[in-house]
Symmetry: C2
Subunit: 354 residues, 2 copies
DNA sequence: AGTTAGCACTCGACCTGATTGAGTGCTAAC
DNA sequence: GTTAGCACTCAATCAGGTCGAGTGCTAACT
């Protein structure tokens, strides 16, 4: 049996209609709504074939047809026409997000929120993270009689701070000397580079400040680990409640469970991922391996932030989600984020929003 | 009509039962389950009185009775016996949260999560925030050929960083001189203290680094404002879906809407608040002024963090929530947080968790 | 006077059966 | 190859009936 042009047009009609209405669609409705120039009976025959080919399925006899996972896949890969963002949509994105590289968390939070509002699906965004973070600079700053701050600048532009309590604080000059000494040893070290060799060297260099240096070391290691700990921003979880396929509370509960678990979200965004690919990926229904998200599709993309730093964005909706709009929105936001970084690297400092 | 002892015992039975089952309860059931030594008929008479007094109500004729808002209020204020946390519950809290003052965000996140798991309600936690934040110390650190980091230590122990791009970077000694110069002027300033006087003084002192100083100033102002921007951690939103009173999806949607809006949560935790009071507050049903949360109760408390810094914790459940357990849990966690801060102030540095 | 047994009544929950309508597959004619 | 016609299926909807948990009222009992 061949998937001829007419079959494809019928399949497309079914998918379009189902995305819009969430109702199984029958032959007569297709004949009425879409002018294909053929009678319901003919459509019935074609639909019967489409079902046998696995592109549509029937919830039960005497109901209309519904696209299958395979059907959506065909649609997404071959049928769907890429669409550009409307002016309103583009404007919305531009206004909803204050692109400010100095406040990345805030920017990511806004991004998640804006995408959720625009698509009315659920959005998950991870902060840009480097694969391996290294120390770029360490500076000790006196705060008061008993506390100093260890400021640790990392090579991905992140800065971490730890307050350290010490019995008696060296004066500023001495502290600067210690800072540059520590710098000499720890500069360009990643978490695993800090081995016993580096540690004993440090201890030997600063015997009289052993206690303080130990604490600084701990802070550095903690900072490096912290930085590998990915932040995840979620928004629009409640949006899913609006779709009829999720009117069953127990079903939704499992989905929400997943959304509250950071690890799940990260695997969701990363699973089977090719980081080098800049293409948008679409994962339909059961193609993700999470039982709870069987009725959801995910449209996801990576965005780049500097050289080796990559963040992820995912939009999660029902399998019958509006793929073309979602892809368009995602394309736009990735382009936007890239350009912000570009401007930053080229000399702008991102500005402040007040 | 007087609210005699027997009426009170019946009311208590109704509330206890309803909290456990979420089902309206009738006279016969009370007679069977609670040995009050009176017949259903007598109970019926008393219930009729209780209804007239406004402590219970009937969803419809021929259904059992359900506690009213006034009923819960009486229960919470007079009837409920305070209960201590069980050993298991206390252990759970202790193990679920790594009390580490150097990673406050992480600690708050864990606190929210632990409370949500323990109570099976929704938890909202705000970071401890001071009313007015002041600059304690500013330090400029060179990062590379074109960037310096402005590290801004605030008097509430928070540290903020901004990367600043400048055309040509002064050497370290010069930078230190500039740092201490800026410090001299901006130290102990809050956001509103930075007026035109301070700004012109700064500009006069550093005419040759005007550009850089302007950017530092912007960073300081931004940091002070950022610090006044409260972080809110929410957990266990999905928990509400498990309760029969929230099996209607559209109802839940409105509630979730509220939970996604930070401002709403903050007013929810702060409304009619007496910050000086350390007592736990209970807000029943419509006593909060948010239409969407009419069917929810909130148990909330403040915790102190240092001198003038206060955070809030709220636990949100159905009106028939388990008030005595919730209060016990909240008491425990507030005590715990206080003691962590105490230890910190007394000389511990909070440790690192690896 | 307070308590209780008895009884009629109410009303949601649940089951059953009939009807409707959207949909199908098959067959025969165009 | 296309289509009209027809028998068939099945979820959804509605009406009617029964059940049971609950009530309020009255009269009798302590």
């Amino acid at each position: 049996m061949k998937l001829n042009d007419r079959k494809i047009r019928i399949l497309e009609a079914i998918i379009t209609d189902y995305i819009a209405t969430a109702e199984p669609i029958g032959s007569r409705t297709i004949a009425r709504k879409y002018n294909l120039g053929i009678s319901p009976a003919t459509i019935r025959n074609e639909m019967s074939d489409l079902e046998e080919l696995g592109f549509i399925e029937q919830p039960h006899t005497s109901a209309g047809r519904v696209p299958s996972q395979k059907g959506y896949r065909l649609y997404v890969d071959n049928l769907m026409q890429s669409r550009k963002l409307s002016q309103e949509e583009a404007d919305f994105l531009k206004n909803a997000i204050s692109f400010n590289v100095n406040r990345i968390e805030y920017m990511m939070e806004q991004t998640a929120k804006a995408l959720a509002m625009l698509t009315s699906y659920t959005t998950v965004v991870t902060e840009p993270k480097s694969r391996k973070v290294k120390v770029k600079h360490i500076q000790l700053i006196p705060i008061d009689e008993s506390e100093i701050a260890a400021v640790i600048v990392l090579d991905n532009k992140a800065i971490k701070n730890n307050i350290i309590r010490v019995r008696n604080i060296p004066d500023t000059d001495e502290l600067n000397k210690i800072s540059s000494g520590i710098n000499g040893i720890l500069k360009n070290c990643s978490a695993e580079d800090i081995d016993s060799g580096a540690i004993t060297e440090l201890m030997r260099s600063f015997t009289q400040y052993k206690d303080m240096v130990t604490k600084v070391l701990k802070a550095v290691i903690s900072a490096l680990h912290q930085e590998e700990d990915v932040h995840v921003y979620t928004s629009g979880v409640k949006n899913l409640l609006g779709f009829p396929e999720f009117s069953d509370v127990t079903k939704v509960k499992n989905i929400f469970q997943t959304f509250e678990e950071k690890d799940m979200l990260i695997t969701l965004l990363g699973e089977g991922d090719d980081t080098s690919a800049d293409k948008i990926q679409i994962i339909i229904g059961g193609e993700n391996n999470m039982e709870e998200l069987r009725d959801c599709s995910i449209v996801r993309a990576n965005y780049r932030f500097g050289n080796n730093s990559v963040g992820k964005i995912g939009i999660i909706g029902p399998t019958r989600m509006n793929y073309s709009q979602t892809v368009a929105v995602l394309n736009e936001i990735v382009k936007k984020l890239d350009s912000v970084i570009g401007a930053f690297v080229d000399g702008e400092d991102g500005g402040y929003d007040e």
